[in-house]
């Protein structure tokens, strides 16, 4: 594989709350290569969205990035000045948010929002920016883009709005797109349409993609690599097929066992018992220990370190299942 577009090393993001410091992202490391799709999977509150925002430097007070490196094309984003970071956002790294109903500004027309994005990064005329915007809308499958560009967000359906957001992300041909559950709010048919269109466009342009989701089935069809997050840590990471076929971490196994289609018809689904822990008072040992079927004394007293399993897989667990390869 060529040099990674993005290389995150030991990223730590913390929030200062009244109850104490919450470490939302804890020692997270991963690489994404050109044209590669990384599925960042986890339950709500696992830190996957915060990881995405940390990469863009969009962590607001009381949060802050407390440690680690975020290297994009060889440049550490944490060393950049705020104006340099502005230039980078939306241009080299684009982000797609979860809810298309909430991401576009309701009082500004689509063209206003697209043109302002282009003109924030490219020195082009308004007319040229408008052409670029219309072109980008056509590319994501919006019919009669020249007319639709003049409408307001509320005049479009959710699927159309998410296409607009995707068009904005692709418009300036970024090196990396961070997509935060972009299809969760859409119905299934629209979801699969958008997924396949994005896949095609990204492969053509060799754009790297981080797909943040809680939906393993989407990841199975889309991603090349998967990183599973739990309580701010990546507990298991690896190529999609190997990881989904032979999960080593009990949490990954639990996630897979709770997907309806993964068990034979008629058989009961196996939910992971318990709830995601509150990040404020994590257990002393492994954060998953209270819910894990394999918990031992060691799990309760110490936190497992990240190990390399070979063939690009990493794991944080004292009692992994055998990984046959």
């Amino acid at each position: 594989m060529s040099d990674p577009v993005l290389s995150v090393r030991n990223l730590v993001t913390q929030f200062e709350t009244r109850a104490g410091i919450v470490t939302a992202v804890d020692d997270v490391s991963f690489d994404v290569g050109p044209g590669e799709v990384l599925g960042l999977v986890g339950e709500s509150g696992s830190g996957k969205t915060i990881t995405g925002f940390s990469i863009l430097g969009l962590i607001d007070k009381p949060g802050r990035i407390a440690g680690g490196q975020i290297v994009l094309n060889g440049q550490d984003l944490r060393q950049l000045s705020p104006p340099d970071l502005h230039k980078l956002r939306g241009d080299r790294v684009a982000m797609i948010f979860q809810d298309p109903m909430m991401t576009l500004n309701p009082v500004l027309r689509i063209d206003t929002q697209m043109i302002e994005t282009i003109r924030a990064h490219r020195d082009v005329s308004k007319a040229r920016a408008r052409e670029m915007a219309i072109e980008a809308l056509g590319l994501v499958g919006i019919p009669s883009p020249a007319e639709r560009v003049r409408t307001y967000p509320h005049e479009m359906s959710g699927g159309m709005r998410q296409r607009v957001v995707i068009a904005i992300a692709l418009m300036l041909e970024p090196d990396l797109i961070i997509a935060d559950e972009p299809t969760t709010a859409l119905d299934v048919t629209i979801q699969s349409q958008i997924l396949s269109e994005m896949q095609k466009l990204l492969a053509e342009r060799q754009t790297a993609l981080i797909w943040v989701t809680h939906d393993l089935t989407v990841v199975a069809g889309l991603a090349h690599r998967v990183a599973v997050m739990y309580a701010g840590k990546i507990v298991e990471q690896g190529p999609v097929d190997a990881l989904l076929d032979h999960p080593a971490h009990p949490y990954t196994q639990g996630l897979i066992a709770s997907i309806p289609s993964s068990v034979p018809r008629g058989q009961r689904l196996v939910p992971i018992k318990g709830m995601t822990p509150s990040l404020i008072n994590l257990p002393k040992g492994c954060a998953f220990a209270p819910r894990c079927p394999k918990t031992s004394d060691q799990c309760l007293s110490a936190r497992p370190e990240q190990e390399n399993l070979g063939s690009a897989r990493t794991l944080r667990c004292f009692h992994p299942s055998e990984v046959s390869s």
């Binding site: 956002r89 939306g90 991401t103 309701p106």
Partner: protein, 325 residues
């Protein structure tokens, strides 16, 4: 749009008619202006002559009939006291009040919105607390007291500005205005500040509430994620979304200032219509009071119309409904 305007003016007309009737009969019930107007030393013939001249010898419903008849010819009656047409009397005093009201509102907006934005976006900063405390004082202390304090400080102790009166005026399109001469402007500043303080406090609170809410919306974060400059995010994406409540209240307040600036006008001896109204009520000068209140209703309707039009400019979602309302 035309049907909408016709309906609005129809409503205005109805309200003005009802208003006129209520005030007309209400003032008749309050007392007989003759007792206040006629020189007690005048002989009986003289008194009767005056009563007849003013039309007060007829029963009240006949007087109302004459009034309505006059209305159809654009005649709102003649002042009992000043012996001039009521409308002419009001219009001669109106420019002074309009000038005061608009400058006051203008000050409230250009100071209140930025201060409110600061307080809303940086709620924990010490200067935000100063702004908010100031605004509490601003709208909880009585208006006349604020006026007296302004006079004490700027006119008595510092001697920078005159304490009352309108100063030198020049004609602008045949209307006497103060703000175009240095002397007039000097006279205008203190009363305008007096009007502005309360409105500004209101604007600050509304803007702060809006800004702190809007700043947390996804579309604001998304605007930042697209790499827009902070100025654009603040000045367009946030500001446009918080203007609706501000415009609503400003509309109402503008009407209020124009119609009832009487406190400020009294404290600063400003020759506006507020003073005229109070004097006229005191003397039971019915034609002036009726004409004044009809004019006030008309102003409120016009201001509401402007506010509605401003809504549709600010929020595209309102535009759809407007055709139907």
């Amino acid at each position: 749009m035309l049907a909408y305007l016709i309906r609005r003016f129809g409503q205005a007309f109805l309200v003005m008619a009802v208003m006129a009737a209520i005030v007309f009969f209400g003032l008749y019930a309050v007392g007989n202006p003759v007792d206040l107007l006629i020189n007690p030393e005048a002989d009986l013939a003289e008194q009767e002559e005056t009563i007849r001249r003013l039309g007060l010898d007829k029963p009240v419903h006949v007087q109302f009939g004459y009034f309505l008849g006059g209305l159809t010819q654009g005649d709102l009656g003649t002042s009992f006291v000043h012996n001039r047409p009521a409308l002419e009397l009001i219009l001669s005093r109106l420019p002074a009040t309009l000038e005061l009201a608009f400058l006051g509102i203008l000050l409230a907006v250009i100071l209140g919105i930025p201060l409110g934005m600061i307080a809303g976006l940086k709620p924990d900063a010490p200067y935000s607390k100063v702004i908010m405390t100031g605004s509490v004082i601003g709208f909880s202390t009585p208006n006349f007291w604020q006026g007296l304090m302004l006079i004490m400080l700027f006119a008595v102790f510092l001697g920078w500005l005159p304490a009352g009166g309108r100063g030198e005026t020049v004609d602008l399109f045949g209307i006497p205005v103060s703000f175009l001469t240095w002397d007039g402007l000097g006279h205008l500043i203190l009363p305008a500040i007096n009007v502005a303080i309360f409105k500004m406090s209101l604007v600050i609170r509304l803007t702060r509430a809006g800004a702190s809410e809007v700043a947390l919306q996804d579309y604001v974060k998304y605007a930042r994620a697209r790499g827009l400059s902070p100025a654009r995010v603040l000045g367009v994406h946030i500001l446009k979304n918080i203007m609706i409540p501000v415009v609503t209240v400003l509309g109402l307040e503008t009407g209020n200032v124009i119609a009832f600036a009487v406190v400020t006008e009294t404290v600063f001896a400003w020759p506006g219509i507020g003073k005229l109204l109070i004097d006229s009520i005191g003397l039971l000068d019915r034609p002036v009071v009726v004409a004044y209140l009809m004019l006030t209703v008309f102003l409120f309707v016009m201001i509401n119309l402007v506010v509605d039009i401003a809504y549709s400019i600010l929020d595209p979602r309102v535009r759809v409904k407007r055709g139907k309302s």
